[in-house]
């Protein structure tokens, strides 16, 4: 079983009920209620369906209920595995092409669709939606929060790392999933907030009603006066041949499998994209005992926070800049990835191609806002605002402020007299700032008493080290005059308590002191399991850029439960101790390419529309033959006609038009229509489903 049984940050799950089920007739075991996709992965199943076009194998892509790539047959009905809770006795099967409709011919009982009324509907229960709901509810406004997951918190639920920002404003230094739990608790305590979890909004309609798919088994309408769209963001797809092979999926999907469901989803991954998602996803892989062969980035510089990149590099993961994916290949599943350097036009230089043997390729090439319901609400003339990633892609810390601000703007639009605190606007601006300058720091010489060494050299909105220091000796040194400023040790009063070391979200603070003429001690944070390290062992110590410094002796280790972080004390040579900030956890051999590149270069085979399997080549030909300038016409070749409603392909189309020699600026974009997620006719007619009947003794 591919389960993660020990994890340096996450607690092992409490006792869960095992559920036996069958996949294509083979007996398997998972846990009652867990996502079926995770149960299948845990049993080694990564191929969920065979597309009607050529029988192409399909696996998960978003694991987020959006893309429909993970369809399987569950008791004869096609369902998205990622939003279907496992039940004992389920008969799960691969979908081969177009499946037969269940011959379920009993007359349907009378049913009605219920309508719930509220003042404000908040779509999405992530950091911004929850923050917005609290503000509205505290002002006496009735709120319904609809979220498509069982646990509120949005993507925070998947985040095992400590967050940036400040402690007082946005739980900085606290891990994502813990912030989610805090927010959920706060919202659930409010009497005028009704939480509809596991209930995606599938459409909003002109008559000021939203259609919700409650628990994926009952359709309900919510009539509202105003709406906040805080539905987050979805991962962008990217074009390379093999981009739809099972094993190529979003970094968010990976985090869902690994961090939320504790499934060891892969043995070895390659990551595309060096933004925070890709960097953090790689780090999460290592923490879960999964090897990372490397990260590639098409731009000449790392896209995410430098501290995240430093962290991953000093674990032994290379980041290849100005490099792109040429091909992903394998027999029905990912077996290898080939990358190459790019020229100034971002085209691959095939002479530089190198191939890595991996079983998974994670796509982390950016996010696009889930704002289609907002656009529709505005088109209908509704009182509506958007918040969080649906408004602008940024960190959860700024999303929380964004949510509060959005809530009050909406309250004002609804005629309430409320003032928006200027300070919130400023704080949101700072929290969502792109990283500022990189500032060199002076070299630190270890002295007789402890003192911190800072490896954070890039301006990002973060200050937990300053607030946890018991002697208040760490201060942001004003340059920008905001949270972006870098921390410095001001004074001489360091007790060596390691609070700053354990709290720093970037793992970018160490403590050093000289112990004798030749040696010093250095205390560094460590987010892997150190319980097995015996004192006296020598560990490969690395500097900020991942360069080997020396094999340093472990002389002490301590676990800081509050931060779920180990602090290791190493004995190192005095002249190099202050350079040490990490310990290599992944062997260099893991990252080696195959001796020879092995790939075919077929860029036109890249899949644009995953649902209907339409390739770059198909679309380019069609555009040229028919002089297409209106994206809607691509529906003729079924682009955007699939289950996802062009959520995945729409961001890729501009580059396909360019490839066909058409300036995307000259094109008319595709019309988005309801539904945003499919729902069965029986439920739309008001019936509560099959699942309930299963509870009463199973289907015929």
């Amino acid at each position: 079983m591919n389960r993660i049984t020990s994890h340096p940050v996450l607690d092992a799950r409490g006792p869960r009920t095992e559920a036996r089920f069958a996949f294509d007739g083979e007996a398997m075991t998972g846990y009652e209620g867990e996502a079926l996709s995770s149960a299948l992965f845990a049993n080694g199943v990564k191929r969920f369906s065979e597309h009607r076009k050529g029988g192409a194998p399909q696996g998960i892509f978003c694991a987020n209920g959006q893309c429909s790539q993970c369809n399987v047959l569950v008791d004869g009905v096609v369902r998205k595995a990622c939003v279907t809770g496992l039940k004992a006795g389920m008969d799960v099967r691969t979908v081969h092409g177009v499946p037969a409709l269940l011959t379920d011919d009993d007359p349907a009982p009378e049913a009605r669709v219920e309508t719930l009324k509220t003042e404000v509907l908040v779509i999405g229960g992530g950091p911004s939606g929850l923050a917005a709901a609290v503000e509205l509810a505290e002002r006496g406004i009735d709120v319904v929060i609809a979220d498509d997951k069982e646990t509120l918190g949005g993507k925070l639920v998947l985040q095992t790392h400590k967050f940036f920002g400040s402690e007082e404003d946005c739980y900085a230094g606290t891990r994502g999933y813990e912030i989610a739990a805090l927010l959920e608790k706060k919202v659930r305590a409010l009497p005028n907030v009704r939480v509809l979890a596991n209930s995606p909004v599938v459409a909003i309609f002109k008559d000021r009603k939203a259609g919700l798919y409650i628990d994926y088994r009952r359709y309900m309408l919510v009539e509202f006066q105003a709406v906040i769209v805080a539905a987050g963001a979805r991962e962008r797809s990217i074009l390379f041949p093999g981009n739809d092979l099972p094993g190529v999926y979003g970094a968010g999907a990976f985090q869902t499998l690994v961090n939320r469901d504790l499934v060891k989803a892969a043995d070895k991954v390659f990551v595309i994209g060096s933004g925070n998602v890709g960097l953090i996803g790689s780090y999460h892989a290592l923490q879960a005992g999964i090897e990372v062969a490397g990260i590639c980035e098409i731009l000449p510089k790392i896209n995410g926070y430098k501290v995240h990149a430093d962290k991953i590099v000093r674990m032994g993961v290379p980041v290849y800049l100005s490099t792109t994916v040429v091909s992903v290949e394998g027999d029905g599943k990912v077996e290898r990835v080939t990358i190459a350097d790019v020229d100034e036009g971002y085209r691959p230089i095939l002479a530089t191609a190198r191939t890595f043997a991996v079983d998974t390729v994670l796509v982390a090439t950016g996010l696009s806002p889930c704002d289609e319901l907002y656009r529709q609400a505005i088109a209908f003339g509704f009182t509506a605002v958007k918040a969080g990633d649906a408004e602008e892609i940024a960190e959860a810390s700024s999303a929380m402020f964004g949510g509060r601000i959005a809530a009050l703007s909406l309250a004002r639009m609804m005629g309430r007299k409320v003032e928006i605190d200027r300070e919130w606007l400023d704080k949101r601006e700072v929290l969502k700032s792109k990283p500022g300058d990189v500032i060199a720091r002076d070299r630190v010489e270890p002295g007789d008493s402890w003192r911190p060494v800072f490896f954070c050299t890039e301006e990002i909105p973060c200050n937990p080290c300053t607030t946890v220091c018991p002697t208040a000796s760490i201060k942001l040194r004003p340059r920008k005059g905001s949270l972006l400023d870098l921390p410095y040790f001001e004074g001489s009063n360091c007790k060596g308590c390691s609070a700053c070391v354990a709290a720093c979200p970037g793992l970018a603070v160490s403590l050093v002191r000289r112990v004798d003429a030749d040696f010093a001690e250095v205390r560094i944070p460590f987010e892997f399991d150190a319980s097995g390290y015996d004192l006296g062992v020598r560990l490969p110590a690395l500097d900020q850029d991942g360069r080997f410094v020396e094999d340093a002796e472990l002389v002490d280790k301590k676990y800081y439960k509050k931060y779920r972080t180990w602090v290791l004390t190493l004995r190192a040579r005095t002249e190099s101790a202050a350079r040490i900030i990490g310990v290599r956890v992944q062997d260099e051999a893991v990252t080696r390419a195959l001796p020879e590149p092995r790939y075919e270069y077929l860029p036109d085979d890249a899949i644009v529309c995953r649902c209907e399997r339409v390739s770059v080549g198909d679309i380019v030909d069609f555009i040229k033959e028919n002089e297409i300038r209106d994206v809607n016409q691509l529906k003729t070749i079924r682009v955007g006609m699939g289950a996802c409603g062009s959520k995945t392909c729409s961001t890729l189309l501009p580059q396909v038009f360019r490839k066909a020699g058409v300036d995307p600026a000259d094109t008319t974009s595709g019309t988005v229509r309801p539904l945003t997620l499919e729902a069965p006719m029986g439920e739309l007619a008001g019936r509560v489903t099959t699942t309930e009947r299963d509870d009463n003794g199973g289907r015929e």
Partner: protein, 382 residues
């Protein structure tokens, strides 16, 4: 100023095939369309049914022509439009409907339609799983069928361009200049055109175009919503039509596309007049309830997308086709009453012939569908 033989206003279900047939007949043809591309008015909202099963002989004749054309696109022109000759089945669950359908058979057969009454067993064979309690049978016309409106309009656009027709998208007609009982020129927001014949094929906006020359056209759009499901293996052969009304709706109908998806539509009650094409929350629960009542197994089929389109209605449910008396070179091809997709190809062919050879090519069509008829009664199988 541009000059052409035929200027068509509207690149929709009617205008695009018409452009093709005109160009193919050697006429220099220009099509003006206010949308960004072809078929973006009511064609995009059509569900794809093609039937000659009507109660009016002229319509039967036009649609028979359309079916011949669409069914032959693949063999004759090498273009797949997902045509399938699945037939149309009007089901009867009560005496009233049975009598109405049986009464119509005479005219329909006289007009040359292949149609007959079938009993419940045959209905169940064609539509396995349909409710059988109370089922009396229905009329089945195996020559009718369905195809993809998107693929069909793209096919005709491609054929029309290939034959030399010119399309001007994103261009709106702003004025029509008349002189001596003729249309002298058509002005748009971008250009001006002189044409031997000007055809109003402006669908839901036909009356607005008529208004530019003070010609009152009794064409008023009403709105209908439609939807499409995920695909499943073929189980349903014909387009199934249930014309029984209930408190909230009139008839509804659905079929299974070549791709395996069920496409469906319902007539709201009361009718909703106007040009608002935004979706409403009442449609899905209503249509799903009626479809699942008729066909229980549809309960497990997921609805993928819905949309709302317009039926450019006339008082008697029949199109308005032919030259106007007021302006000798202004031709009307308007008021398709939600059936532009099935009328368009046949109409295109006949109108192009009429432009070249005169209206004598199809006297019945031009007489029955004339603007100057009495507009009495209502087409029974609207």
């Amino acid at each position: 100023m541009k000059t052409c033989d035929v200027l068509i206003i509207g690149a929709g279900s009617v205008g695009v095939p018409l452009a093709f047939y005109c160009a193919e007949r050697g006429l220099s043809t220009i099509v003006i369309e206010k949308n960004a591309s072809w078929g973006r008015g009511q064609n995009r909202a059509a569900i794809g049914g093609l039937r000659a099963t009507h109660s009016d002989p002229a319509k039967i004749r036009l649609c028979q022509e359309s079916i011949r054309i669409v069914a032959g696109l693949e063999a004759e022109r090498g273009i797949d439009v997902e045509w399938r000759s699945g037939g149309y089945l009007f089901v009867a669950y009560d005496e009233q409907r049975e009598k109405a359908f049986r009464d119509l058979l005479t005219i329909q057969k006289d007009a040359g339609l292949d149609i007959d009454w079938i009993g419940p067993a045959r209905v169940s064979e064609l539509c396995p799983g349909i409710r059988t309690d109370g089922l009396r049978g229905g009329t089945f016309s195996p020559g009718d069928g369905y195809a993809s409106p998107l693929m069909t309009s793209t096919a005709f656009h491609r054929l029309a361009r290939g034959a030399g027709a010119e399309f001007r998208f994103g261009e709106t007609v702003t004025a029509i200049r008349t002189e001596g009982g003729r249309v002298a020129s058509v002005r748009t927001d971008k250009d001006e055109y002189e044409a031997g014949t000007v055809v109003n094929a402006a669908g839901a906006f036909a009356a607005d175009i008529g208004g530019l020359v003070d010609l009152e056209l009794p064409v008023h759009p009403d709105c209908h919503e439609a939807g499409v499901t995920e695909p499943c293996e073929r189980f349903l052969e014909p387009m199934l039509v249930d014309i029984r009304p209930d408190d909230e709706s009139g008839n509804y109908y659905f079929y299974q596309t070549v791709t395996g998806q069920i496409v469906f539509c319902i007539t709201p009650k009361p009718q909703i007049w106007g040009t608002d094409t935004d979706s409403t929350s009442s449609f899905l629960p209503l249509v799903s309830r009626r479809m699942v009542e008729l066909y229980p197994r549809l309960r497990n089929l997921k609805v993928r997308r819905t949309w709302r389109g317009m039926y450019p209605m006339t008082p008697d449910g029949l199109p308005i086709v032919g030259y106007t008396e007021e302006y000798s070179n202004l031709m009307l091809a308007v008021g398709m009453c939600g059936q532009g997709y099935m009328l368009g190809p046949g109409l295109g062919k006949i109108l192009s012939s009429a432009i070249v050879d005169g209206v004598g090519v199809a006297p019945q069509v031009f007489e029955e569908l004339s603007l100057y008829r009495k507009f009495e009664g209502m087409e029974l199988l609207k």
